[in-house]
Symmetry: C2
Subunit: 328 residues, 2 copies
DNA sequence: TTGAAAGCGCTAACAG
DNA sequence: CTGTTAGCGCTTTCAA
């Protein structure tokens, strides 16, 4: 900026002003400065700007995995909405691990983000403390935390699966199974499994047909392997709910390889409304959790909180059951 | 740090040293400082650190879309390899748009990253200038640029598809088609299409069976729609190569809906070795471009360049043809 | 092994 | 509309 100021014959402060859209500065001065900047190959230094003004334009976001269309949609919604205010996302992956999440949160907070968005409502005690002490908006997503740290934008994973079980029982299925990950790591998957068990108990049905397909996330292949185990150990199962559409599709392919018709031989459902479930043959019954909406609403909430005009602290999403050809 | 220094009875400089792993400081002093820091809820300020030391721990990365398993794998490889040196990724999405890429590159460079990784070898002139002037390692990926800005880690998209056409012609297919996006936006997709046309011409076959399925990226649904058009307008097509496994799977489902057997009625191939092609029924012939390797190798190249000990400027990947059940 | 002084590049605050 | 001064929180540099 000093160089530009020298070339243009103004003070560094005026150069600084020329790069802000709002500040009052004459058009000619600004044009001359911007031209000189381009000439000199000047690149604005956000680091110095952030340090001096004590406000970054970062929003920190942690997701379990970058390679998941649902979380990608949430990040997309966040990113696009925050871009309207020139805020940038600082993204980290926890790999479905709370310890890793803690490390990541600590690292991200060092950048002094304006807000932080985390996935899920369960964290290590230290992570909770770090978030609470950061004195910035904290948004938990993809869950309805029993004890929110700050704010949340999410839905009940257990409740959503309960609704699906209710529907399946309604249309006459009795021997239902659930394919998910190993318990204890992916808390959203565990919550879905818990919702399955609770709903089965409520209906007086056997809740023990649970297949654990390995550590989350469960791939298509693991869904297929789980379906193979299910068909071999509990061949009278009438319908199976999978923790995601990806594992549900894997399960479907296993049936196709074995010549078992879906849904007449066995019904299959997934979770997450991934594109594959809408186009596979047969299409797959699923639950739409409005991934992109979660991101957009979280971003809007952040902007409102920063403006001091948030209407609500929390946003609860109503997931939608989508009935397709893989079930009756 | 001043607060911690006061509490601990040392100078701020000593506190600073306590947070570096290497620096020489007595064990007792460091322990006391770290304990005081935890007590006070101190969070290290990377912004100030970066400004003073004039080096960030950022590597900037631009990808066309976050919601793409191939690019996600590349970012995963980058991220994990760079994490070994405590470097963090600053990620941006271009949405397959060179103008947007230019804006993004400008924004990312303001953070003074240590290196920048971009997808593809085509950029606006201004973006090229910005990258060249940044005086940091620039890595182009997923392509073999005719005129590299700095370094590249990639493969020839055209060459990979050429190899696939050669194989198809070898095994007896003659009337081949290509399903891709509209020309002009996604340059990797266009390159694949060009590779198809070149190879067909080389074999003296008709290269005009080209279906444009809309602006990239092409979804499963768009692949299905394109296949419907292909079957209606050019029903004697023997095999179709799709720009990605996702569109290939969509095309496959369209055949299934119409009762057309694959590969006996028509053969289908994709690109990218997505999980879906390995598990669908039938499995889908594809090209493995080693997405994750691209990221890992780019990261390793960056680390070597920063250490001043890079063995090679560029890394050319050899894509691998994977023959599966969707083709003869 | 520790400390003192200076300053990274920008902008808040105030003055004109 | 423009300029001056000071300082954000750290680390480089030099000294002890």
């Amino acid at each position: 900026m000093a160089d530009i100021a020298r070339v243009t014959g103004v003070s560094p402060m005026t150069v600084s002003r020329a790069f802000k859209t709002d500040s009052l500065i004459s058009k000619e001065t600004r044009d001359a400065i911007l031209m000189a900047a381009e000439d000199l190959g000047y690149v604005f230094d956000s680091t110095a700007s952030n340090l001096r003004s004590q406000r970054s334009d970062f929003v920190a976001v942690t997701i379990p995995s970058i390679n998941n269309a649902n979380f990608a949609d949430t990040v997309g919604g966040l990113s696009e909405t925050l871009a309207t205010r020139k805020m940038q996302i600082l993204l980290g992956y926890t790999n479905y691990d709370m310890q890793e999440e803690e490390r990541l949160i600590e690292q991200l907070l060092r950048r002094k983000p304006q807000a932080i968005v985390v996935t899920g409502g369960k964290h290590t005690p230290r992570a909770r403390k770090l978030l609470a002490n950061a004195h910035i908006p904290v948004i938990e997503t993809w869950d309805v935390p029993p004890d929110p740290i700050g704010h949340f934008v999410g839905f009940s994973n257990a409740g959503a699966v309960c609704g699906m079980v209710d529907h399946f029982v309604d249309v006459g299925y009795q021997r239902l199974a659930f394919i998910g990950g190993d318990v204890g790591r992916d808390t959203r998957g565990s919550d879905r499994r818990n919702g399955f068990v609770a709903a089965m108990n409520r209906h007086g049905l056997d809740p023990s047909r649970l297949i654990a397909a390995g550590p989350p996330p469960i791939s298509m292949r693991e869904g297929a392997n789980a379906m193979a185990r299910l068909l071999e150990t509990l061949p009278d199962t009438e319908a199976v709910i999978c923790v995601s559409d990806l594992s549900a599709f894997g399960a479907l392919t296993e049936c196709q390889r074995r010549g078992i018709p879906v849904p007449d031989g066995i019904a299959i459902a997934g979770f997450g409304n991934y594109e594959i479930g809408a186009i596979s043959v047969p299409t797959i019954t699923t639950i739409n959790a409005f991934s992109r909406d979660i991101g957009e609403k979280a971003a809007r909430l952040i902007l409102d909180l920063l403006d001091g005009q948030a209407l609500a602290d929390n946003i609860t999403i109503q997931p939608e059951l989508i009935l397709r050809d893989s079930s009756r």
